[in-house]
Amino acid sequence: MSTAESDRRSGQRAVLEIDHLTVELAGGRRAARVVDDVSLAVFPREIVGLIGESGSGKTMTALSILRLLPRAASIAGGEIRLGGASLTSMSEAELRRIRGRRIAMIPQNPMSAMNPVLRIGAQVGEPYVLHRGVRWTDAVAQAVRLLRDVHLPLPEERAVEYPHQFSGGMQQRAMTAMAIALEPQLLIADEPTTALDVTIQAQVLRLLLEIRDRHGTATLLITHDLGVIAEMCDWVYVMYAGRILEQGSVERIFARPSHPYTQALMRATPTVDATDADLASIPGSIPSPFELPAGCRFADRCPSRFERCEREPLLLDVEASHSARCWLLEDGRE
């Protein structure tokens, strides 16, 4: 554990702890490491961002928490704990009592996560029936209350409608209502606004902040959007090719991005406040999980690589609450 991480941990108990998680994907003769030795933590009331591009392993990390990995993938090492209890060694029956009740997920595409032939009220209220044995009529009444909490206009009328009658933003708010039904300790939001228009995205993001303020929910927010991270998060993990390359408080990461990959990502993102500076693209592409380099995962695309990069760097401290997996940080080289 780096000192950056221990600063943050002082005195608090994490809601979620992932220790040295490795996830492998079976493929032909070899196994691919899609998540490699990932450790992260989410503390109460925190919104923690996990940012990465396609193939970074961020979604596999999220699915591991709920043990909902696709069949070809499996947890090959490490431990995941919720409030100290190991999720990785739980039975399926125990997990079912956790999912939805203590950990809930908001998916990227609400339409495919909903049952198209079930009324919204029944879907949103279903957790009460499954986990609390509440009668359906009471569950639907609870659903209406939840729909009001997520600012859905006319919740009584909307509750009897079907998912296809909802816009994307309304569907995402209904999914969020379902997710917070049982007041989970941990909310996992996997690209919750990627499919939404920006004005609607702003509403859903604000809703997540409201939920945190009202219930003290800890949130793991997975996104590829630096703006969403800057707007929402307290702490950030930058993921690339299965590894965490940089981590720290959101202020430190944006003030002083220290891994060349994080820096490149920031320079590659077009902004509306742009000057005439050219966007810097990152040459090459993310390595295949079947052919991971022995050294630094980013080395072959990195403008600052040197001999040492043939060995994999450790997470090194940049400053308090901030570390990065890059040899440039060793001995004050930079």
Binding site: S167, A230, P270, S281, P283
Partner: protein, 340 residues
């Protein structure tokens, strides 16, 4: 008169969908759209779902007939051309789309995908075509090793490069790009955007560039048009529109974008309600049900585009002399509104 390559004049498009006993439901996708693009310039179109961006692209490419208005290419109406003239014209107008996985025939190699337009337009001999294909690939940063590859063996970024090569191989004057980077990762997107800029400079291309991403539009456009429910609500030089928006919708869009700077968090944004359905278009100004500045008149009067100076105009009644006294300073151009 102007050196506009493309002019869109009063274009409207209504789709009739699902008839019932009481009549047909109509969806007005575009309404009275006026735009023009000067040669070798980029017109960026931004807007959210249902704003009519893609319908506009299809009309400009003559893939869809407008219900009203005209599209003039080099001053001549696209729909007044004969089939023969149109065939000539097709060489001049090419397109790049978002979903590169479906824009290629999966059984074709990169070579055959790039040869096809040359064959259709009977350009060159077998030998000169091969040279043109290699040259086009070279322009997009790929080499001859890619010629025998199939589209599904390429990465998203490589496929988009091939799509761009196919678009420029006929040396068009206009390229219509509809969300060309929306499916790509940020690092690849930057590469493709830079490629669009390079080939524009090299070939003097004119772009109609559509994106829902305002950062992308800011980067590639000279002029931007902001669309909302089938209308252009604001248009002007991109720097002016983005630094000093003069329509409440443009301002709301700009403010809703999360900035990559934690010190500029905006937690007190006005919440805009739901986007109305295009089947039930609001009366008066289309934005009035969501507008924080709406006045009673906005539910009745449909605002035209009011010029606000320097080629910049905005369709908001607060620019009308009758109501200008009620306008906040940023609307009338007195103050910079966006917190940047």
């Amino acid at each position: 008169m102007s050196d506009a390559l493309l002019q869109v004049k009063g274009v409207g498009k209504t789709f009739a969908l699902g008839g019932t006993l009481w009549g047909r439901r109509q969806l007005r996708a575009l309404d009275q759209v006026d735009l023009e693009i000067a040669r070798a310039q980029s017109l960026g179109i931004v807007g959210e779902s249902g704003s009519g961006k893609s319908t506009l692209c299809r009309i400009v490419l003559r893939l869809l007939r407008p219900s009203a208005g005209q599209v003039l290419f080099e001053g001549l109406d696209l729909w007044a051309r004969s089939a023969h003239e149109m065939r000539q014209l097709r060489r001049q107008m090419q397109a790049v789309f978002q979903d590169t996985a479906s824009t290629f025939n999966p059984r074709h190699t990169v070579r055959s995908a790039l040869l096809a337009p040359l064959e259709v337009h009977r350009i060159g001999t077998a030998r000169t075509r091969a040279a043109l294909v290699e040259e086009a690939l070279h322009h997009v940063g790929l080499d001859a090793r890619f010629l025998s590859r199939h589209p599904h063996t390429l990465s998203g970024g490589q496929r988009q490069r091939v799509a761009i090569a196919r678009a420029i191989i006929l040396r068009p004057s206009l390229v219509v790009a509809d969300e060309p980077t929306s499916a790509l990762d940020v690092s690849v997107q930057a590469m493709i955007l830079n490629l669009f800029k390079t080939i524009q400079r090299d070939f003097g291309l004119t772009y109609l560039f559509v994106s829902h991403n305002l950062g992308v539009i800011r980067y590639v456009s000279d002029v931007v048009a902001v669309m909302y429910l089938g209308r252009v609500v604001e248009v002007g030089p991109v720097g002016r529109v983005f630094s000093s928006p003069r329509h409440p919708y443009t301002r709301a869009l700009l403010e809703a974008i999360p900035r990559a700077d934690p010190s500029k968090r905006q937690r007190d944004l006005p919440v805009l309600g739901e986007l109305p359905s295009a089947y039930r278009m609001p009366s008066g100004c289309r934005f009035h049900p969501r507008c924080p500045l709406a006045m009673d008149i906005c539910a009745q009067e449909d605002p035209p585009l009011y010029p606000v100076g320097d080629g910049h105009s905005a369709a908001c009644l607060l620019h009308d002399p009758r109501f200008v006294a009620a306008a906040p300073a940023w609307i009338s151009g007195g103050a910079k509104p966006v917190n940047v």
